[in-house]
Amino acid sequence: MVDPSINERGGRVDKLQLIAIAGLMFLGAMFVLSATAAHQPDDLPWYDEMWIRQIIWYALGSGAAVASCIISYHQLARWSLIIYWGMIVCLVAVLIPHIGSTHGWGARRWIDLGPFQFQPSEFAKLAFILALANFLSRPVDELRIPAIFWKGIGLMMLPFALIMKEPDLGSALVLFPTGLVMMFVAGTPKRYLLKLVGGIAILCVLFVADVIFAPRALQIPIHEYQRQRLLVYFGASFADKNSTPEQKAEARRLQEKSSYQGKQALISVGSGGFWGKGWRQGQQTALSFLPAGAAHNDFIFSVIAEEEGFVGSTIVLTLYAVILFSGLRIAGQARDRLGKLVAVGAVTLLFSHVFINIGMNIRIVPVTGIPLPLLSYGGSSVLCSLIALGLMQNVYIHRKGY
């Protein structure tokens, strides 16, 4: 599968991808600074400033990425099931009060480790990629056996269900495209996949229709905020048809409130225009229209888009494109199916994050709490993104098995 001419080009690592990664980390530090500078207390020590901490996370993440390159992905794959089940235990643990922390938000997503918190759902995605790649790297013929197919689905559904329980809809949903693409690339028969995708699509439509149109009593029990986000995205009214005017007014107020973040993100992005307002000149964060708690993580893209305009957005998209396509090239150059699947899994995972996150900033997808790889502030997200990229490089480095 490997073209000899590529080997001749040599190189221990994929340099182009590294340059793009460095570029994104640079942007990340710059704009975490821009997003947080206006709201940090004056007496905050320098090492506690968000952008410094982000740089520290980049350093730690780079270390983790290098570490994940040292051992060949074959070795890692051998441990994948153990890692996978370890993460499942963590995902269960996070649901138990006193272990899982809510951070004041509605969802129980974090495990408190004293000085910092750890978000197992992020790492679970990596463990899932490794485990599924390992599982799918068996001979293609075996993939035709329905039992194997369903086992693969089970491997995906277990973390999905646990993450949904937290609840963290966004993180749970990215498992689907990742798993499906890996199965597809591995060579799972198309009819299985088509049936699966069709089934999921029908379920999604039924689910959304239920949330929007069904009376309260017949609705699938989901969290109120999730229901509201969906209603906001589809532009449906919060109020029941036969509610009183007061209830309708209350519903409208609520709707305003829940559509607020998305609306403000859209105003940030749109008001940036073509050239943007300049670094640290964005008004939306300085004036707190973009909530200070979200601007530097889930909505970092709207900060960049406001300050650097369409030009900045294009630069960000280009950097991601470089990373994703070089990731796919690595997949193509991998010496075996395991390497290819690991690389494809990592690419799909990153792509899903990028698409959902940027998409929610411009209202293509509903607002979900999902970080933008490498740009959003947050240790778990930065570490996972860098480890995922490390895995790609691992595949690249070990493409010559001899």
Binding site: M1, D3, I6, H98, I99, D112, G114, V181, F184, V185, G187, L266, I267, V269, G270, S271, G272, G273, F274, Q283, Q284, A286, L287, S288, F289, A305, G309, F310, S313, T314, L317, Y320, A321, V322, L324, F325, S326, L328, R329, A331, G332, Q333, K340, V344, V347, T348, F351, V354, F355, I358, G359, I362, I364
Partner: protein, 652 residues
């Protein structure tokens, strides 16, 4: 492309994945193009509407000056002690955290957290629903504001209170503006505040402009008044988020010339954050100050007239005085009594509403009065022009019959010529010659004086008076009795003191009826701006009587005799020859029963070359001679003092 070339060689699945990634990124790029390039303007305006508030900054109101440049109305700063809400955000949050109910939970940490810093007893914030959160946040804000107010109270030495309803309204509607804790500080309070200012509280003094009238009630009716009104005037931006206090003239000069006095408000834009607190402000357009209005009024004459009225008739007299330059129609004084404070709100509502005093009325222009005998010279003029021999005698038996109606004459019985009839104000004489002349001619004469028409003041305080038209007097409803009433200034006619001043000026100046002029010019407040002032032409002729000088001379002589030997003697001023006519009109109720008297003295001087017309009207006086003439006397004294050229040279 390098990357895509690589992919071409690889398998179909990877190619499909690459295509989907490319498609996804393209969708994002297209979406961003749509949002950031195509719809950028829409979102920029969204941003502006949510982040900018416009504030209307009023212009400095123009002054009102008398003809010699003395200030009758101007602006003075008043200071408010204001609380800056934008500096209180963190205090609000702290107070909120402090107020928020806390649950104390005792639990032992799980064994695997032995290393953690978890305490056994933890405080947990109680869960609140959104209404409770709102109520608590409001309580926190109010606590912070009233705490600052009470801290200031000790500094200022007086209790300061924050009214919850007012504070709530301000917070809801004017959050980007500072909140006034104490309004209109006196100098002692300002000094105390400056002394204690180091306390570091987010408060400061803010200036607000107030209208002041240095001469108090002087000419108050003419000046009119202003009221707080911050709405946009024509030609200004109509929509503002906030408006600073401004004044709008309602009546009088303040009202009629408001468009000049008012200037143009400026626009300030305030950048606010998501909570609506002020961040920065900058001026988009500076306010253009209003223009000064220079009146034709002479403050000295005005005050002399007011003081004389006060001295002779007391503060509750219902009276009016008009002093006019007979040669050009300039109004030199216009007095209405009872006095009113031009700062409208300092008048007690009971006083303003007093049915009898009606202090809000400008009696010089706004009320109809029967002129009584002071109308007789006009009847005489009509008769003279119709060929009356002024020396022809009319027999006065002490009464006159018109049809079957008996009208008594207060002048004693005897033979009367025109001069004697004016001096003794004979009803019989004027009814006789009036009826002989014919009501048509009297009406035509009155039309030239423009009785029953407005004099064109812009003070929004004018009534037109009443006078029958030719059509009315020729109708079958009109009887000789009605004509007889007109001949003695009663019945179906009414005038304002200003109309009488215009009429007597016309008799005095040889027959020119002027438009009365109140405003000499409009000039820029700051002459250095190079803006030009607008002059209102003096001596604007409204009509010419077209009467012979001979007829007028007859009247001059008769009216001079009135003040020399007749009922108007009290008006005499040594060294000045005054022509005048007293009048006492009866005020009838609907049953034709006399309920009151309107007393008049209408006059002009000097006899030789008349320059000033003075009309004094007092309601409920005794007679024109004793009631009104002494007031005219004081005014002529002042006029003589101011303008010695009118003195009788022959006598001195």
């Amino acid at each position: 492309m390098l990357i895509l070339d690589e992919l071409k060689r690889n398998d179909a699945q990877l190619r499909l994945v690459a295509a989907m990634v490319a498609l996804g990124l393209f969708v994002l790029l297209a979406g961003l193009w749509w949002v950031q390039v195509v719809s950028a303007r829409k979102y920029q305006s969204h941003l502006e509407t949510q982040a900018y508030r416009t504030v209307r900054v009023p212009a400095e109101r123009g002054k009102i000056l008398d003809r010699e440049g003395r200030v009758l109305a101007e602006n003075a700063p008043s200071y408010n002690l204001n609380l800056y809400l934008d500096d209180l955000g963190s205090d609000f949050r702290k107070e909120y955290a402090h107020l928020r109910p806390v649950k104390i939970v005792t639990n032992s940490p799980p064994f695997w957290k032995f290393w953690s810093r978890a305490k056994k007893v933890t405080k947990q914030r109680a869960r609140l629903d959104s209404d409770q959160v709102d109520a608590l946040a409001w309580q926190a804000r109010y606590n912070v504001a009233s705490k600052i107010a009470s801290e200031l109270s000790s500094d200022m030495g007086e209790p300061l209170k924050v009214d919850p309803a007012d504070f709530k309204r301000h917070y809801a509607t004017e959050r980007a503006m500072s909140y006034p804790l104490l309004e209109d500080l006196d100098p002692a309070e300002i000094a105390r505040f400056e002394e204690h200012y180091s306390s570091g509280l987010p408060v400061d003094l803010e200036m607000e402009s107030q209208r002041v009238y240095p001469y108090g009630t002087t000419a108050a009716h003419l000046l009119g008044f202003v009221r707080k009104d911050d709405s946009s005037i024509e030609g200004e931006e109509a929509f503002f988020d906030y408006r600073l206090p401004d004044w709008r003239g309602v009546l009088g000069i303040e009202g009629g010339y408001d468009s000049y006095l008012h200037g143009h408000a400026g626009v300030e834009s305030v950048l606010v954050n998501n909570l609506g607190y002020r961040q920065t402000a900058n001026v988009w357009s500076a306010p253009e100050p209003g223009e000064n209005v220079v009146l034709t009024l002479d403050l000295d004459v005005q005050r002399a007239a007011e003081q004389s009225l006060l001295a002779h008739r007391g503060p509750n007299s219902r009276a009016a005085i008009v002093v006019m330059n007979a040669r050009n129609g300039d109004v030199l004084a216009m007095v209405s009594s009872p006095l009113i404070n031009p700062i409208y709100n300092s008048n007690s509502p009971a006083y303003l509403a007093d049915e009898k005093l009606k202090p809000q009325l400008n009696r010089a222009t706004q009320q109809n009065y029967a002129p009584g005998s002071i109308f007789k010279p006009i009847v005489g003029l009509a008769a003279l022009e119709a060929g009356l021999d002024p020396n022809a005698l009319v027999d006065n038996p002490g009464y006159v019959y018109v049809g079957r109606r008996h009208i008594t004459d207060l002048a004693e019985p005897g033979q009367y010529d025109l001069k004697k009839a004016i001096v003794h104000s004979s009803n019989t004489y004027f009814i006789t010659i009036g009826l002989r002349t014919g009501i048509d001619k009297i009406v035509r004469m009155a039309e030239k004086f423009h009785f029953g028409e407005r004099t064109g003041l812009t003070t929004r305080q004018e009534t037109r008076g009443i006078f029958p038209s030719l059509k009315e007097v020729n109708s079958s409803d009109w009887h000789d009795g009605d004509s007889a009433n007109i001949c003695i200034g009663q019945g179906a006619m009414a005038v304002t003191p200003l109309q009488m001043a215009v009429a007597y000026s016309a008799i005095a100046n040889g027959g020119t009826v002027f438009w009365p002029r109140l405003v000499e010019r409009i000039e820029p407040q700051d002459p250095s701006t190079g803006e030009t002032s607008t002059d209102y032409p003096s001596g604007l002729v409204r009509d010419r009587l077209g009467v012979s000088q001979h007829s007028l001379n007859v009247l001059h002589d008769a009216m001079l005799a009135e003040t020399v030997e007749g009922t108007g003697q009290a008006a005499q001023v040594p060294g000045l020859k005054i022509c005048g006519k007293t009048g006492t009109a009866e005020v009838m109720n609907e049953h034709n029963v006399r309920i009151d008297r309107t007393t008049w003295f209408a006059s002009y001087a000097p006899y030789e070359n008349p320059k000033y017309a003075v009309v004094v009207m007092v309601e409920s006086g005794t007679f024109g001679g004793p009631t009104c003439a002494p007031i005219a006397h004081d005014i002529y004294e002042e006029l003589l003092k101011k303008d010695p050229t009118i003195a009788n040279v022959a006598k001195n």
